[in-house]
Amino acid sequence: MSILVDKNTRLVVQGITGNAGTFHTQQCVEYGTNVVAGVTPGKGGLKWENSVPICNTVNEAVQQHGANTSVIYVPPPFAADSILESIDAGIELIVCITEGIPVQDMAEVRHRLNQSSVNTRLIGPNCPGIITPGQCKIGIMPGYIHKEGRVGVVSRSGTLTYEAVWQLTQKGLGQSTCIGIGGDPINGTSQKDAVQLFNEDPDTDAIIMIGEIGGSAEEEACKYIKAHVSKPIAGFIAGASAPKGRTMGHAGAIISESGAGTAEAKFEAMEEAGVKIAKNPSKIADALMTCYSG
């Protein structure tokens, strides 16, 4: 029915007592996510909102409460360390919402994730999170725009994903799982990783991939799509009108002075791989529909 998260997910919230942590944990609990613990160092033994046990460490949350997934709302100077803490505690899936982590810190995290002894998957950072509609919402996306179904959505953006999901829902197309992989240049799960998970998921029938200018994540995904994906797949790239050499809000969204990472090149790679492209961001769901009619 989904990938990575479902009703069996046992979530620990790192930074549960902060403003963002508290607000979004309330939203996730309301949605039905099973939040088994929170972590705020020094507040171990207390209860968050009189319900969720607070631990001093992620290790404690795993040992005592059986947490298998973590979400991070910790401020940027401490966020990379929080990711490493979850890896060491044996968490299977980490979702890092935090924006503004230094690139060098993320390089260390990637180095750790790449070690053969590590079996953890990271989503983000600088992302809205992941949701399997009707089962589990981890992150900051508004729950009500989603609908249970069989379209997998992967995106580097937050609100642009909501835009695409809302288009799908309004057309009656539900989603199996929606993943925001985040707008940072160094992240955990790539476009290609997410597309592969959807391709191998028997309960996902179609895929939407939303990219942005900068880097080559979409091109890498397209190589995989061309070789392996026969499910209907549609996509959009944001930033066709962006100037060269400027960072467009997301640290990873930059066309280099030499002109690498343009929307044009990414659209071309998608077409070449058989992805139905939407040139207009309000027609993303329509592009997917053409896979069925054509």
Partner: protein, 395 residues
Amino acid sequence: MNIHEYQAKELLDQYKVPIPKGISANDEASIDSAIAQLDSENLIVVKAQIHAGGRGKGTFTDGYKGGVQLCDSPEKAKSAGLAMLGNHLVTKQTGPQGRKVQTLYFTEGSAIDHEYYLAVVLDRESAQTVIIASTEGGMDIEAVAEKTPEKIIRVPVSLDMGLKPHHCRLIAFKLGFTGKQVKELSNILNGLYRLAIEKNAELIEINPLVTNQEGTLVALDAKVSFDSNALYKNPDIAELRDTNEEDPKEVEASAYNLNYIALEGNIACMVNGAGLAMATMDIIKSYGGEPANFLDVGGSANEEQVTAAFKIILSDPNVKGILVNIFGGIMKCDIIARGIVSAAKNVSLSVPLVVRLEGTNVEAGKKILKESGLELTSADSLAEAAEIITQKVTA
């Protein structure tokens, strides 16, 4: 974050990378003092300090040619400096309006035997530091990489091991250095690598690194940029920011934690989220309009930030219409609506405004706008909003 060449050279000096003697100046008195401190037997190089490449081949808006001047006397150096100071330098990277030169850098000239290229980059794709070197220095390295990729040396440095002597030897011998030059290059590489790691530099580029007539290695030019997200670790680096080099509207926006980039068009946009903000610019363009800016108000903007955002986009005289596109997630539509109403009270709104709200608290938001009595058009979808604002502006 970018810094000036003279600031980069001071950092190189701290990390024991050899540079020609140089002094910065920003008025006539400091020009005199800078020139007096340099060896008058030598050529003096006068360099305009702006955050853009191609200075040497640039032209000033008053017709004066060259943002880098080689002068054979102190008098000529002074008159070159005075001609540049306060003048606007146009290069291939500045756009036609150019950049105002507010600081000059006077350095002693070096007799050059050969020019090399050297860079330390935090490579985003491989998530590690990479040293890039070439015997083809002094020119556009991207052109070299395209035409003669075999002349580019790339050496990745593993994060947990750091830079090792064998990395330095490999680069030195590939560049054709011999004898004491191998040791010199090794010292330079160690300095650059330490600077990159300790100060969170994303790019350190020495172009050119030269050998002088004695065969000694010297860093003749330097470009350094830092990870803006890591400035909290290095307050000394944060102080090197020169807001004169940024668009005043962008500086104002950054004070309110807004992500704003000024563009050339006439349709301003205000959006939450970077991806949606880019997509909004794209759709304006696809309907034949031109976006005046990129503006991401972020995920959790308050009323004050929204008001500030509104004032900033309206301070651009080119703006002939405004498109607000909000997909409320964390951001609640009623907060955006209150910000718009409050801003409209403060500034006289003389251009058409189209607002598209969707998501959290959308009904409350629409109600606030409707009851405010503001003259605006509500749109139900992104496509409709873009179509209406382009029609209004181009009509």
